[in-house]
Amino acid sequence: MGYHVHTPVFDGPFDLLLHLILREQVDLYEVSLAEIVDAYLSEIERLEQMNLEFSTEFLLIAATLVELKTRRLLPDDGTVDLDDELALWEERDLLLSRLVECKTFKDAARVLGGLSANAGLSYPRHGGLEERYLGLVPDLLEGVDASELRTAFLRATAPKPVPTVDLSHLHAVRITVADAVAELADELPRAGRLSFRELTSSLVERLEVVVRFLAVLELFKQGLVDIEQAQAFGDIHISWIGSTQFDGDLELVDAYDG
């Protein structure tokens, strides 16, 4: 399935998803994240400067896609817990309703923009009293003295409360990939060979599993572990092939927890 990212359309947190699903009609799970990232980077280069909002929204989209894709990549032998399955559909429904809501407001915004453009063609009269009536106007400063003016000035110039960034809508990241790499680097040399299932058996949160999976990939990238999977959907086995002492560079671990 042909897939092209026309990056100037990254215009909202769900735009990419909307495009993927509506225009390109691709299977979300066949989307190559690498291609998206490449297109994104070349767009950044073209813009020659970082646009924070653009980047933030991109990262959010990418994170959403990673989360969805990871679910597919997680070990699955067909005996999925019914509760998990329901939770997955619930999440998907939630995502769907957000996509619909997002699209609704996008279209509404477009119409409001049109209204505003039309209204902008006319310029309002603000009039104001003619001099001959000014004498009739009650003095607005009646009863105001100079000290009140001073108070008003101090009130107006008082430092405003610093706006805080609201992160409540983001996932709370409990563990970083770097932490997980360090944990695995401690555990694997002692255990020798473990299945991913065993590695993650103690974990409760899906996000923690995802983080640990990324950590395994990171160790693989650094040539410290070997990964084998005997059959599709079968267990993934991880073997430590590095020296007994972890000599990988934690500094090289990308910060996924942005």
Partner: protein, 221 residues
């Protein structure tokens, strides 16, 4: 005397700084509010028949004079100062959410947009399009925002009730189905039971009429 009231309305609209409340015009000219509306209607018709360079419009709940839209090119050259920069699409989307969901907190807007909206909200507040209208009773007492008369003026609307109904923008069943199909794509690969499809939202026949035709609308193919 009808003619006198009509002329008085013209005269008062000449000096008002903000859109003039019909009730005030009625009080000053000693006719009913309905009569004010009728007289303004007559004035509008006369200006149009005479091909005048100005019009009377009803915005933000009042009447005001403004230049005829087709003379915008002359006014653009004249009114250099105080022109408002156009809103970004992020700004417009945020404004649309506040307009339709007001009163609404920053966190609620962020939840819909899926990103932090602090900067955009601050810009909209500085431009005077939205304002703090109260506080939510819940924990933390978040500030609630709503649109301002200035927003109505900017869009040429008399009240928020004149906004096109939000229901007309809800994507049609076809679009929702496509969205869902995209999310469900893995179901085809995995040996999972096909779940019953989402009930589609009411297919609104007006939905497509109401929507302006954007250059790259992803929804319609």
């Amino acid at each position: 005397m009808e003619d006198e009231a009509k002329r008085a309305i013209e005269a008062i609209l000449m000096v008002t700084e903000h859109p003039a409340d019909p009730a005030l015009l009625a009080q000053l000219t000693e006719v009913s509010i309905d009569e004010v509306a009728r007289l303004v209607g007559e004035l509008r018709a006369e200006y149009e028949a005479d091909n005048r360079g100005f019009v009377i419009v009803e915005v933000a709940g009042g009447y005001r004079f403004q230049s005829h839209p087709d003379l915008a090119p002359y006014l653009e050259r004249y009114v250099l100062e105080g022109q408002t920069a156009r809103l970004s699409s992020a700004g417009l989307e945020t404004l649309a959410i506040v307009a339709y969901k007001q009163p609404i907190s920053r966190a609620q807007v962020a939840a819909i947009r899926g990103v932090n909206v602090d900067g955009v909200m601050r810009t909209l507040e500085q431009r005077g399009y939205i304002a703090q209208v109260g506080r939510e009773p819940g924990p933390g007492n978040p500030i609630l925002f709503g649109t301002t008369p200035r927003f109505l003026e900017a869009l040429g609307l008399s009240s928020v009730d004149d906004l096109p109904p939000l229901a007309s923008f809800v994507p049609g069943a076809d679009v929702v189905e496509q969205l869902e199909a995209g999310l469900r794509a893995d179901a085809a690969v995995e040996p999972e039971p096909e779940p019953e499809p989402e009930p589609e939202p009411e297919p609104d026949p007006d939905a497509h009429q109401a929507r302006t035709d954007p250059p790259d609308e992803p929804g319609d193919q």
